[in-house]
């Protein structure tokens, strides 16, 4: 789960990670009021969307007067912001963060991520702050410091020293920086983050450490123990069909093609998407109905595929393991009765209780194509959408 910068900064403040003063506004008047309360100029007006690269797209502006705050906020709120992370369609900005300007002396990069290879929490830091870290990694890898922290021991002073000395920090800021890093680590583990990124993290001319940006993502698998964080979810930032699917606990991702597909198991679902493509068509979605799927979940998956107007045909490929073929067949039949199926349906089934599943489908009176194997499943559905 992703959250906005201003929300991440609220969490930062809770953990005493220093951020500039400021607040969020949904209209220019409120933005000006926040700026007036800050009491000094310049202030920064920042678009709040779940994507990076906002500055380059014109979503971050410096204001030197209340009038400028109003005009910047007026322009940014409601704009369609296109960045390298939003895709060409962009994202509509609904709110701006208005923050005190900062006397920047040095810009750093700092992030924490779970490192899958070493099963540890990895701190990534660089003196090349403000830049895209992937560019830094590709062009000047020597400028990147990586420190691994064993989750069983947690962060130790030597971890902080590695980061501080690696960043060539001035002696005056080391104590404050180490405290902040320790707090960030606590914030990371206590909230089950999958990413905490500050780019840039600045050292001010007054030798203060300040997170002028903040990005946090959370581990979806851990949300059961962070009910409080769910309040931060912004459904407007997600694809409406993805949101609908998540209500039913379905793994669904809307894509651009015309072949809707429903598969059990993520790996097989990806392979089916690839098969559709190799057969000359394009997948309209990724949909994994999962291992523990019930007939009802299958039916819901069906509804979501059918509510996508792009879909010209549907391919169902189920290999029964946990999900038994009879349960799948039941779901298909119920969905067909409850929704109006207006597109051709290709079904391929194998595995547990397959005979029973095939019998249910055959006796349902549904009009459908049965594919014997993967090869023919892809070919049949590609032929249907090509017609």
């Amino acid at each position: 789960m992703k959250i906005h910068e201003f929300q991440a900064k609220q969490i930062f403040r809770k953990y005493k990670v220093p951020t500039p003063e400021g607040s969020v506004a949904t209209d220019p008047e409120k933005a000006a009021q926040i700026a007036a309360n800050l009491g000094d100029f310049p202030v920064v007006v920042k678009a709040q969307i779940h994507a990076g690269g906002r500055g380059k797209g014109g979503g971050v502006q410096l204001a030197h007067s209340l009038d400028e705050v109003k005009s910047h906020a007026g322009r940014i709120i409601g704009m369609n912001l296109v960045t390298h992370q939003t895709g060409p369609e962009g994202r509509t900005v609904k709110q701006v963060l208005v923050e005190a300007g900062v006397n920047i002396d040095k810009e750093l990069y700092l992030s924490l991520i779970p490192d899958r290879e070493t099963a540890s929490i990895m701190v990534i830091a660089s003196e090349a702050g403000g830049m895209d870290i992937e560019t830094v990694a590709a062009e000047t890898p020597e400028k990147i410091i990586r420190v691994h922290i064993n989750p069983l021991t947690g962060i130790q002073p030597f971890h902080s020293r590695k980061v501080c000395f690696g960043l060539n920090l001035a002696p005056e800021v080391i104590k404050e920086f180490s405290f902040m890093l320790k707090q960030l680590y606590q914030l990371f583990v206590e909230n089950d983050c999958s990413l905490v990124e500050i780019n840039p993290l600045v050292i001010t001319k007054e030798n203060k450490v300040l997170a002028i940006d903040a990005k946090m993502d959370f581990d979806d698998n851990a949300m059961f123990r962070h009910k409080d964080l769910l309040a931060f979810r912004d459904l407007d930032e997600e694809d409406p069909l993805d949101v609908e699917a998540s209500k039913y606990n379905l793994n669904y991702i809307n894509l651009d093609g015309t072949v809707g597909n429903m598969v059990n198991g993520a790996g097989l679902a990806m392979a089916v998407m690839d098969t559709i493509k190799l057969a000359g068509a394009e997948p309209a979605n990724f949909l994994d109905v999962g291992g523990g799927a019930t007939a009802e979940m299958v039916e819901n998956g069906f509804k979501i595929i059918l509510s996508d107007d792009k879909v010209k045909a549907i391919l169902i490929n189920i290999f029964g393991g946990i999900l038994r073929c009879d349960i799948l067949a039941q779901g298909v039949v119920e969905a067909a009765r409850n929704t109006e199926i207006k597109v051709p349906l290709v079904v391929r089934m194998e595995g547990t209780n397959v005979e029973e599943g095939r019998r249910i489908l055959a006796e349902s009176g549904l009009e459908l194509f049965t594919a014997e194997d993967m090869k023919s499943a892809g070919d049949i559905v590609a032929r249907i959408v090509a017609e």
């Binding site: 992370q85 779970p114 899958r116 290879e117 099963a119 540890s120 929490i121 992937e134 064993n150 989750p151 069983l152 583990v189 089950d192 999958s194 581990d219 979806d220 698998n221 851990a222 059961f224 123990r225 793994n251 991702i253 894509l255 598969v263 059990n264 198991g265 993520a266 790996g267 097989l268 679902a269 990806m270 392979a271 089916v272 998407m273 690839d274 098969t275 559709i276 493509k277 190799l278 997948p283 990724f286 994994d288 999962g290 291992g291 523990g292 189920i318 290999f319 029964g320 393991g321 946990i322 194998e350 595995g351 547990t352 194997d373 993967m374 090869k375 023919s376 499943a377 892809g378």
Partner: protein, 291 residues
């Protein structure tokens, strides 16, 4: 021969009294697996189809000489269940549970490092040595005993598809292992490749990967140096959009790394026969593997 499990494996099931636990325990018993115990805290002293149920893993292992555990415990409690089995000295732990928080698994992995236990999974279908023991949720009838091919995969149902096609071509399997779709897991590709390489009955290996992480690239480097047996590979996710988690927690292309194209290239460089269209993997195996 086989790797990791055989007809001598003595299985206990953690979460045996739950709905999935019961269903799949019965399937394992029906296949001939020696299921000697179940564990459900608070239900010690009862039984499931005559299989004794204990409150804890240590007690169950001591009383029944179980050496392998299969875990169906729900995600909030699964890491604890795995660590309980490690603590009890269980040799092989197969965690089926999907949805364990990454942070929990990182701790499990650190605990595992100092132990004598092997973990398969989590978020996996389990392991089967056809004709000997099924420890997991895979549909049994698609398998063909006797080898000569070993299968290792990050995905569940994708493995079933591959095995189904192998059997359709008349090619049997020594052992099939699902290592799971989570970013942090126990046994990895390299562990399985090394075991298959030293298993005399295994004459060829099928390796099924997917987008995300570097496990396939690491496996490719290992194959190049250490594996003499022919390997057929498949990577799912050529059409997966970057930055999106494709169902499996570990299946995500991030910052341009973890793409299917890069993995396919690495495997090809290592001399692996890469099948790009899943529908044809059975035919390709029939061509590649000696009969």
């Amino acid at each position: 021969m086989s790797i990791f499990v055989n007809s001598d494996t003595r299985l206990l099931v953690q979460g045996i009294t739950g709905k999935e636990g019961q269903f799949h325990t019965r399937q394992c018993v029906a296949y001939g697996t020696q299921v000697v115990a179940g564990v459900t805290p608070g239900k010690g002293g009862s039984d499931m189809d005559g299989i004794p149920v204990f409150n804890g893993v240590l007690e169950a292992a001591e009383k029944t000489r179980a050496n392998c555990s299969m875990i169906f415990v729900p995600p909030p409690f699964a890491a604890d269940a795995i660590m309980e089995s490690i603590d009890a000295g269980i040799e092989l732990i197969v965690a089926i549970t999907e949805g364990i928080p990454v942070l929990d698994m990182m701790k499990v992995k650190q605990v595992l490092a100092g132990s004598g236990s092997r973990l398969i999974g989590p978020n996996c279908p389990g392991i089967i040595t056809p004709g000997q023991a099924k420890i997991g949720i895979m549909p049994a009838p698609i398998h063909k005993p006797g080898g000569p091919v070993g299968v290792v995969s990050r995905s569940g149902t994708l493995t079933y598809e591959v095995v189904f096609q192998l059997t359709g071509q008349g090619i049997g399997q020594t052992t099939c292992i699902g290592i799971g779709g989570d970013p942090v897991n126990g046994t990895n590709f390299i562990d399985c490749l090394a075991a298959f390489e030293s298993d005399p009955e295994t004459k060829g290996i099928v390796m099924v990967g997917e987008i995300g992480g570097n496990a396939e690239e690491d496996a490719a480097a290992f194959i190049k140096e250490n594996v003499t047996k022919p390997v057929v590979g498949f990577i799912a996710g050529l059409t997966a959009p970057p930055g999106r988690r494709m169902g499996h927690a570990g299946a995500i292309i991030s910052g341009g790394s973890g793409t299917a194209a890069a993995k396919i290239e690495a495997l090809k460089q290592a001399g692996v026969h890469v099948c790009e269209n899943l529908g044809y993997i059975g035919e390709m195996c029939a061509d590649v593997f000696p009969t």
